[in-house]
């Protein structure tokens, strides 16, 4: 019932004997000890456990660790480099795209793929793009702004205003 697998997480190989039933999110959090990936609903609804597998966003609570044997996983810990934070992280920081932060790592991982597939998404495309990620604090508006900011930064365009928008 156990199997030895090697998963590359953020460029580092992790080889471990795991039970077949070990979920990828537990492999990441408990075996690789990278706790930036969160477990929210544990039913593939909330998206807090979103990571990238070979560049594609996935809910790691609904994937078995053995299924990603030999594959490349990127978690939120893999976003920043020695150069600094990733544009999506800067976008969330500058636009207050988070309050409690629980959904944030999954939200950012999803948005990394979203911007890769669609570098200049409309507001509607962003909202559909994050439809598998729940945030119970922000009301999503600042998350949308964060993604627009990150998109502009990645494209090298002028950065949008980070001033809060007040509705009269």
């Amino acid at each position: 019932m156990t199997k030895e697998i090697t998963v590359t997480i953020n460029g580092e190989e992790h080889t471990h004997e795991v039970e077949s039933r070990t979920l990828l999110v537990h492999f990441i959090r408990e075996i690789a000890e990278l706790t930036g990936t969160h477990i929210g609903c544990d039913t593939s609804s909330c998206g807090a456990c979103t990571i990238l597998i070979d560049g594609k966003s996935a809910k790691s609570c609904t994937i078995l660790a053995v299924q990603v044997n030999g594959k490349n996983v990127t978690t939120v810990e893999g976003l920043a480099t020695t150069e600094g934070v990733h544009p999506i992280q800067e976008g969330f920081k500058e636009n207050h795209g988070l309050h409690c932060g629980f959904c944030t790592s999954g939200m950012m991982m999803r948005c990394v793929e979203l911007l890769e597939n669609n570098p200049n998404p409309t507001e509607e495309e962003i909202r559909w793009g994050i439809s598998g990620n729940l945030c119970r604090c922000t009301g999503y508006n600042n998350i949308v702004k964060a993604v627009q900011y990150a998109g502009a930064k990645l494209r090298g365009d002028e950065l949008p205003s980070t001033e809060p928008v007040f509705v009269e």
């Binding site: 077949s20 039933r21 537990h26 544990d42 593939s44 299924q67 559909w128």
Partner: protein, 289 residues
């Protein structure tokens, strides 16, 4: 939530997979994308002793358009169909459906083959396949057979796939003349199963007369169902508002929805009537474009 113990097998060829399936018998379940099966295993609704993962088998994830048909490998991901311009230019119904199937992360891993083989009338693709007149290729260690989609769904979680067999390919005829297709569903929130869903595919001759109509309904019957009376009400006519209203009324009468948290059966019949109207109009508009 963690599934019950099981043994995991990752064959690298179809032959290896058939060998495993024959050795393990009915203790084994086939794993495609896993986005229906793994949630069921976590809730212990399913406790297979062995999983045979098709993920490492080459050749099951190709999409091609040849000999008048669109061929989709069973392991092609929902997202790959959604983003394949060659497919969606002829079958915008895949764009319609994909947007309503779960969410982007699930569509990155959920497969068309798994969606059908799961045999759940609440899934969206079965109705789409019924409307398009698809057929599925089922393979075992000795041979391949082709099953018309109308003969594929047996009952709740039950399909024509027998022990030792694997669904390997889905074929959809590409009509030669004018054709259009569309899908929509009512859902309580993004990612929910349909309260009701309707897939429509129409073919028209040069004078605008409907020569084929396919209408599939989601989650309003124990198995995915075709609205056959509605289809017959459209064929042979230049489709107008009266024909659309008649077909929609028939679909609402012929479906068999159950009362549940998504609504009572009367409400669901109204949902089906309204969606059938809209989807016939949309498919017609696309056929005429």
């Amino acid at each position: 939530m963690i599934p019950a113990n099981f043994d995991y097998h990752a064959p690298s060829t179809l032959d290896e997979a058939f060998k495993l399936l024959s050795e393990l018998g009915d203790e084994a379940k086939i794993l495609a994308g896993g986005h229906s099966l793994i949630p069921m295993m976590k809730l212990r609704f399913a406790e297979p002793e062995h999983l045979v993962d098709l993920g490492g088998i080459p050749g099951l994830n190709t999409v091609s358009m040849e000999n008048g048909s669109l061929h989709i490998g069973a392991m092609v991901k929902e997202a790959e169909l959604e983003h394949n311009a060659e497919v969606t230019s002829k079958f915008p119904i895949f764009t319609d459906a994909a947007k309503l199937i779960a969410d982007p992360q699930v569509r990155n891993f959920g497969t068309l083959g798994g969606n059908l083989a799961h045999g759940d009338a609440a899934n969206d693709q079965p109705a789409v396949m019924l409307a398009l007149g698809a057929s599925v290729e089922i393979t075992n260690a000795e041979e391949k057979r082709t099953v018309d989609i109308n003969d594929f769904f047996y009952g709740f979680y039950m399909t024509a796939i027998q022990e030792g067999e694997i669904l390997t390919n889905i074929s959809i005829p590409v009509p030669a003349g004018k054709f259009g297709n569309a899908y929509s569903k009512i859902e309580r929130k993004v990612g929910d199963y349909a309260t009701g869903g309707v897939a429509v595919a129409l073919e028209l001759d040069d004078s605008g007369v409907c020569t084929r109509a396919g209408i599939g309904l989601t989650n309003v019957n124990p198995t995915p169902m075709r609205a056959e009376r509605s289809e017959a009400a459209l064929v042979g006519k230049v489709i107008d508002a009266a024909a659309i209203a008649e077909a929609a009324q028939m679909a609402s009468e012929d479906c068999n929805p159950s009362d549940d948290l998504r609504g009572d059966s009367d409400y669901k019949r109204r949902v089906i009537r309204s969606l059938t109207k809209k989807m016939i109009a949309k498919a017609l508009e696309r056929a005429q474009a």
